[in-house]
Subunit: 319 residues, 2 copies
Amino acid sequence: MADREQIWVDRIVAGEKRAIARAISAVESSEAAGIALLKRLFLKSGNAYVIGVTGSPGAGKSTLVEKLASEYRDLGRKVGIVAVDPTSPFSGGAILGDRIRMQSLFGDEGVYIRSMATRGHLGGLAPTAHDVVTVLDAAGCGVVLIETVGVGQDEVEVARHADATVLLLVPGMGDDVQTFKAGVMEIADLFVINKADRPGTDRVEQEVTAMLAMSSQRDGWEPRVLRTVATTGEGVSNLRQALDEFRAYGERGSLRHERQREQWRARILEMLRQRLYEKVLTRIPNDVLNSHLADLTEHRRDPHSVVEELISRFCPERQ
Amino acid sequence: MADREQIWVDRIVAGEKRAIARAISAVESSEAAGIALLKRLFLKSGNAYVIGVTGSPGAGKSTLVEKLASEYRDLGRKVGIVAVDPTSPFSGGAILGDRIRMQSLFGDEGVYIRSMATRGHLGGLAPTAHDVVTVLDAAGCGVVLIETVGVGQDEVEVARHADATVLLLVPGMGDDVQTFKAGVMEIADLFVINKADRPGTDRVEQEVTAMLAMSSQRDGWEPRVLRTVATTGEGVSNLRQALDEFRAYGERGSLRHERQREQWRARILEMLRQRLYEKVLTRIPNDVLNSHLADLTEHRRDPHSVVEELISRFCPERQ
């Protein structure tokens, strides 16, 4: 098995689309094979520039991501796209989405597109999105674009995965800027006013600029406000340049490093919380749990004492 | 300290309002003193009939709970009321709520009302709501009413705490019944159409009845559909009788016991998940975590291996 796994890894690193697709499926299923694969792929990853693109439904995220991908393709980079759909697990929307979106990129051997359903996961980003990014990174994608519908917690999750976060705004959506919570505005490294050929563009720009002036500077980087018309491609080249400048800025100073550390801290602790629980659960024999449940329903023992006992028995501190 | 704690427990069990209020505050703050107190109070609890009342905003939950409490007071029972407000932690709404709601019950020494903010907790019910119920139960409340705004996950949480769950519907809210997810309809033991003097009452009743006919029977109990006009008190006495019949039904067979076991299982596992993580976190030295973070940012080690190592070092299996 180890040999076959190594062949698989080699094919992924060589950029073979079928091997990559199989790897992502294995990773998404959270099976042991997927985790074993990820351990190897992770050591081959770490080169991709991970860009999160978020914004309200209808802001033009897919179109912008498609054009941005083309920009990077023109520079000879391989590009991965992870589109997180807030579709129901039952609709099959995510799978269909792969085929119908971003038509111009199909047939391009240097582009990998994957749609993921959120599967009802609170927070929007599927828990394995980061693992999918690892696969695409190991497969040689110099750029990975993560597209999410931004509705609050999602944007914060995007920022937890991304090297750079782009927040899309559109003119004419009323109090668009005000409705974004402070926490959402704060995660953006670049603000993009898309559909900037529409009336109201100046007003949105003023609002964002005013809001930025009031908020504290983030890691020394002053977030920029750009304009695009994604449908025509106008401004997308500027956005690409700004993204590259942001990356260069982060690498010159400590920003990128500091941010990655904090992202890893959050991610490792979240993984620890989940795995610890799964692990300890498997250690508790059924009869032990059942006897505690009997004590609890009869109010012979209190739940806090029961949990303390379970922890000291099944997750003891090493002496 | 132990003596003072025992005095406190005695005063709570004797039903002294100030001691109860202090106990609930201690419990809500999740401090060590609160947990120590809970351990003692839990052994004195287990007699209350815990009734969850849920429904859309504006369905008349507070008024119904107030009238239902009066019904039980007329029977000589002490009544606890826990109103979970979906208010922001910053608004102070929950504290104000205590004073302005359920005016008719104020001054009654046999009624304890506590509003709790959800504090942004996903799922609506504050994690300590169950502990507050334990205090009220130990204080001699024969009935504890939990009122929540039902918006999905909340109702399921209510059912996890309650011996009986009442779902309030109102006529004239359009597709009210259809908008409740299947999971919400399934948790209700009793359906109450409140404001039943309004047009559309028959239609709502038909809809609920039709939906119940399609859904599988739950634990052998056939959920009832009742009508009330909470503002005038009409039908509240019937509801109280139906609630008592439901309780008697549950105690005759295995329903109540089975349900309590499942509630305790869910609750203990949720507590275990949270406490395990907190406990293990305190065991991990900063320098160990920092060295892992350095490995991760440099992609020298993968996150899955790091988490596995942390678990085997700081939550080892006993030999």
